[in-house]
Subunit: 339 residues, 2 copies
């Protein structure tokens, strides 16, 4: 089992649930916009939010954020004094890439983190590789080596990440890294791209790791509004069975057998329940082929028939409803169940 | 290695590339709409298309489809005589679920398939389970048992599938099944739901199997226009590294360091290259942190700077461009590269 570290009051590692995180894309120096985005990401489901600190003018925003309700991670590159300023401003974790800091800089940063007992996330990626060996094994070894720079300073409050924009390299590197250390792992695919393809690429990479029990905190990286990263990460966690507190909508893909408006009903249900955090399953099935089995296994289910459809509650048919009335009826029963 | 079967001229199994397939959701009896949808799915990238045959009136459409350019799979439930009619109409493969056919029916179907040497896809799912044991191991065993019903008739031109709407069960069942047989595997997550969440769920399930080398043909099942299934399946194959003939857009997720309009440029590029089947990588990076490394690794790359951005071609900076002109310049160079 992995060690547990705490980002303010939020645990990462051990037996604790895998957390979702995201990162702001406002100019950090713009305090109002950055605070608004941090709060929006938190409300959407990010347990913690990372903020880039590219210059000393941005530190004033970091100070304000540190007073707020959301655990904040400062993202630092090149200048260790920015890290010291962020740490002294009260952030809850910092992220560094040791390959772009001096040994002296790392030593100062570790000392400051130890004084406040905040975790350091060591994020290694392709750019960290010096010897042109971009293999998964080398990436994982580099992460371990980077962690050792911190251990040498007598500190082990560490989260590790080893991201590549190549999915196979990323998955393989994490599989190796998982076996090599007890540090909790921050997982994700870096530079996944646009919302459309980036969500699929991230789901393949992150999902396959989570299914095998690898990963303690997740970030989806999209060239899109970061709120989309949070929604995608939450859905990936749910897909991997790691968050059961939601209403799962099972829906058939429709075919020539379909007797009811499956897509419309499923989409309306999904919209209705998107903020509900009670575990429940609703099955929307267009015909009886798999309709009866799936409906029986759900809290609420519908299996389309030629002119009337069967409505299932807790595995039993409670009524049949004319197909033209089925959407309204299922929406009505859903409202009752959600009460 | 898996056996190879042929759906008309398209191989499934062996060393052959993993194929994408989809399924019509028109009323099959509506010949014009069904032919149009089959052709649209094929043009979008489906190597073969499945069509439900719910009644004898639909067989006339199957006859027409069988004369076309697209390999056709007939989906049959309950009535083996529908299968016989479809086989005699010239379809290239049939899909049955032995749990809803009689032993006599299966025997007749196998005989007809053998006469035309077309493969049978045995699709087992939750509804096929008789003893309430929905475990992955039992599902996999059921698939093997179903295949043995066909083997007993002296035929082994078989593709196997074992789908559940639960992702962990699906992945685990396929992992077990993969070890138990040499039949090529049709993989997918059944009843994945709406486009929004169904794509993520399917990517996690199918992607993690493909990354481990499991699966010979893929279907994504969405309660949406089936063309979305084809796009999603193609992107999953590309994510898993199984289709390299496309232009990959690497794009950073943007943060306070970002100097250029990454999302806009990445989205415009993705739209421009969506039908290009030449392997190429383009990196759109908002700053120098990972921008230089990723740009160097791409055919074309851009790393944003404070007022000017560096343009990389084949790993070398070829020019710097003012940030307000960078989108036009990258689009222009892309056009040249695509010539």
């Amino acid at each position: 089992m992995k060690m547990t570290v705490y980002v303010r009051n939020v645990p990462i590692g051990g037996d604790f649930p895998v957390t979702v995180q995201s990162m702001t894309n406002t100019m950090t120096v713009d305090t109002v916009s950055t605070i608004a985005q941090v709060n929006g990401l938190h409300a959407a489901g990010a347990a913690m939010v990372r903020v880039s600190v590219p210059d000393f003018d941005s530190v004033k925003t970091i100070k304000e954020l540190a007073k707020g309700n959301v655990p904040i991670i400062a993202d630092i590159h090149f200048d260790y004094k920015l890290a010291l300023a962020a740490i002294n401003s009260g952030v809850d974790k910092i992220r560094i890439n040791p390959s772009n800091l001096s040994k002296q800089g790392i030593s100062e940063v570790v000392k400051a983190c130890r004084d406040r007992n905040i975790p350091i996330r060591v994020g290694v990626n392709k750019g960290s590789v010096k010897n042109n060996d971009f293999s998964a094994a080398n990436m994982a070894a580099l992460a371990i080596e980077s962690a050792s720079l911190i251990e040498e300073e007598g500190y082990n409050n560490i989260v590790l990440a080893v991201k590549s924009s190549d999915i196979r390299t990323t998955v393989e590197a994490y599989r190796i890294l998982d076996k090599l250390c007890d540090y909790p792992l921050h997982i994700g695919l870096t530079e996944a791209g646009t919302k459309q393809s980036g969500i699929i690429k991230s789901s393949v990479a992150i999902g396959s790791l989570l299914l095998d029990g690898i990963g303690n905190t997740v970030r989806v990286s999209l060239a899109a509004d970061p709120i989309e990263e949070v929604y995608a990460a939450k859905t990936i966690l749910r897909a991997a069975g790691l968050d059961k507190n939601f209403v799962e909508i099972i829906a058939c893909p429709t075919c020539a057998r379909t007797c009811i408006a499956v897509e419309e009903l499923a989409t309306r249900l999904e919209e209705r329940v998107k903020n509900v955090t009670v575990p429940m399953k609703i099955a929307v099935m267009g015909c009886i082929v798999n309709g009866i089995g799936e409906s029986k296994g759900a809290r609420l289910g519908v299996a389309g028939g030629k002119s009337v459809s069967s409505v299932f509650l807790d595995g039993k048919v409670i009524k049949t409803v004319k197909n033209e009335l089925i959407i309204d009826e299922i929406m009505r029963i859903t409202e009752e169940l959600l009460k």
